[in-house]
């Protein structure tokens, strides 16, 4: 079939976008499923049996994640400035706007809600 070049390009663009979208959805779905699966108890048990080569670093707290992620774009907002429900909405907004990973956004939300205003 002798399609015009613009048609070919359109098909290529559409197919490319569809392919990338499908790949993103497939990978994210796999990651989400693996994250939702029960914790890898066997691996954890093995790790517990083996003596740790290095002392593992402490997991970042919500406050630390807040300092890492939020202050790089705007001055610090204090937990008391919003109530817990408003923080939930704002963190949803910031999770989308700043591309925050879900777990980090949830940890930050917990930190902000702990001392939230009324």
């Amino acid at each position: 079939m002798n399609w015009p070049s613009s048609m070919k390009r359109r098909w290529r663009t559409g197919a490319g976008l569809a392919l990338i979208t499908a790949a993103v959805l497939a990978v994210s779905g796999a990651l989400a499923l693996s994250a939702d699966a029960p914790a890898d108890n066997q691996a954890e048990a093995k790790a517990a049996k083996k003596p740790a080569a290095k002392p593992s670093r402490k997991k970042l707290t919500g406050q630390e994640l807040y300092a890492i992620n939020c202050n790089r774009c705007h001055p610090e907002r204090y937990p008391t400035e919003w109530n817990p429900s408003q923080w939930k909405t704002l963190l949803l907004h910031m999770r989308v706007r700043a591309n925050l990973p879900a777990k980090q956004a949830k940890a930050i939300l917990r930190y902000l809600q702990e001392d939230a205003g009324n």
């Binding site: 994640l65 705007h74 999770r95 925050l100 990973p101």
Partner: protein, 467 residues
């Protein structure tokens, strides 16, 4: 007989002894023992009285409980009656209009929150009178329908002088963005609507109170700020120290043509919404319509939407110390002649303490035109800020000051081209974490046929408030 008489004598002796001994025992009870016994008896009497009182109270509570049970039974009866009526009505409705029942959505946990910012700008521009140049109110409406769905819309209400064309003032109203965000899972969010385009990071992080300068970098004028379309975006955490890879991929209407032609002066970065309808005088090649419609300039003036995206890498080595790098781009037709508009943006941001920030972008675009062939408008900008609070001086006013500087340049790549570069030095005074006062002086140097569009220098002040 002898045995019988001996038994009788033993019994008689026993009876005599039994009568004698109790008399001896009564005789030995003392007054102390008697009083002790009397006290015990009195205590027992008190206890009995208390138990009787408790019993009466229990009976009263029991009566109250019974009354409550009766009330609840009555309410239950009413509820059952309502439920029965509802079922009957539903059955009746189903008989009248059989509809396939849809599954209910999650229970509403909605919340409405207002955020945003407001600015007032005073300008002293070379060759012009000084004046208050802008009053801007930019609210962001955030409606969280539930844990996974957010609707957000950002507006810009601006007031500007109407002179010299007319008296009074003019109101500007702009929908900066309006999207529905659906969090598909931990790694993908679907965004649809009028989106801020992730070409670099400036569009998404440039609200008035976030920007360290009252105006935008020059080369940002080469890019569209927003677009109608749909987007997938998210982040993949790397390790557990805050490092992550972020991505955005989108399809949007993209830039359009002001008049449907492909000439270099017709590029419209901010337009392009809707479909064609209504009458027009434009010739056929400048538009296509839905069946039954004619052509107009109201709708898309190109057949292909644009595609684009951004990939970023964020590496924090400790809080307030981080590096972010990103590459983004977009490509698509911008008119019905098949001319394409494409862009690549490289962005970087560095923080080396809570007090030092450096960031910038390199922007290159390719525009297919009917009159000049493919031109390459481009530019770059870099800015830095230093907060005096890092000096740990015992001077509260000075600690609230941040010094800022910026260099930016832009080339429109027309023939002949106009090149402009600008140096900016200024400060920010933080009255609070949300109320900022900015002052900048800008030196501009522009060469080319459009150089008269730029002043030689500007003094700008801006008061901005984020909420």
């Amino acid at each position: 007989m002898k045995n019988h008489s001996s038994i009788c004598s033993v019994v008689a002796a026993g009876c005599a002894l039994g009568l004698a001994l109790p008399r001896q025992a009564w005789a030995t009870v003392s007054d102390d023992d008697f009083n002790a016994l009397k006290k015990i008896v009195q205590q027992l009497g008190d206890k009995v009285q208390k138990l009787e009182q408790g019993h009466e109270q229990d009976q009263q509570v029991h009566q109250q409980d019974q009354q409550k049970i009766e009330q609840l039974q009555q309410q239950l009866g009413v509820t059952q009656q309502l439920a029965t009526n509802a079922v009957q009505k539903a059955e009746a409705a189903a008989q009248v209009q059989p509809v396939h029942p849809l599954p209910a959505g999650p229970a509403a946990t909605h919340n409405f929150t207002l955020a945003g910012d407001a600015e007032v700008v005073f300008g002293r521009v070379s060759g012009q009178h000084s004046a208050f140049a802008l009053a801007d109110f930019a609210p962001i409406f955030l409606y969280r329908a539930n844990d996974n769905i957010l609707f957000e819309a950002g507006f810009d209400f601006m007031l500007a002088n109407n002179a010299p064309a007319a008296s009074g003032t003019a109101y500007g109203f702009d929908l900066s963005f309006a999207t529905i965000d659906y969090l598909l899972n931990d790694y993908v969010t679907v965004v649809a609507g009028n989106m801020l385009l992730p070409l670099g990071t400036y569009s998404e992080r440039s609200a008035g109170w976030l920007n360290k300068f009252p105006d935008n970098p020059l080369p940002r004028g080469l890019l569209p700020g927003n677009g109608i379309g749909a987007q997938l975006r998210g982040a993949l955490p790397v390790g557990d120290r805050g490092q992550m890879v972020t991505y955005s991929i989108y399809g949007a209407n993209g830039p359009s043509s002001v008049d449907g032609t492909g000439n270099s002066g017709s590029l419209d970065l901010g337009g392009n919404v809707g479909v064609l309808s209504g009458a027009t005088s434009l010739p056929r090649q400048y538009g296509y319509g839905l069946p039954g419609t004619t052509f107009s300039t109201l709708g898309n003036l190109h057949s292909d939407p644009s595609g684009g995206g951004r990939v970023g890498w964020f590496y924090p080595w400790k809080p307030h110390y981080d590096l972010e790098l990103g590459v983004s781009g977009q490509t698509g037709e911008w008119n019905d002649l098949g001319n394409r508009w494409s862009a690549v943006v490289v962005d970087a941001t560095l923080h080396v303490s809570p007090y030092v920030e450096v960031k910038g972008e390199f922007i290159n675009t390719w525009v297919d035109t009917s009159d000049l062939g493919t031109i390459r408008p481009n530019g770059w900008w870099v800015q830095a800020g230093y907060k005096f609070s890092g000096l740990n001086l015992d001077l509260p006013l000075v600690n609230n000051v941040e010094l800022v500087g910026r260099y930016d340049q832009s080339n429109d790549a027309l023939a002949p081209s106009t090149k402009t570069d600008r140096y900016t030095a200024g400060f920010i005074y933080y009255f609070s974490n949300t109320l900022l006062f900015e002052g900048d002086y800008e030196w501009l140097n522009s060469r080319g046929p459009n150089a008269n569009l730029y002043p030689s220098n500007e003094l700008l002040f801006q008061l901005s408030y984020g909420f």
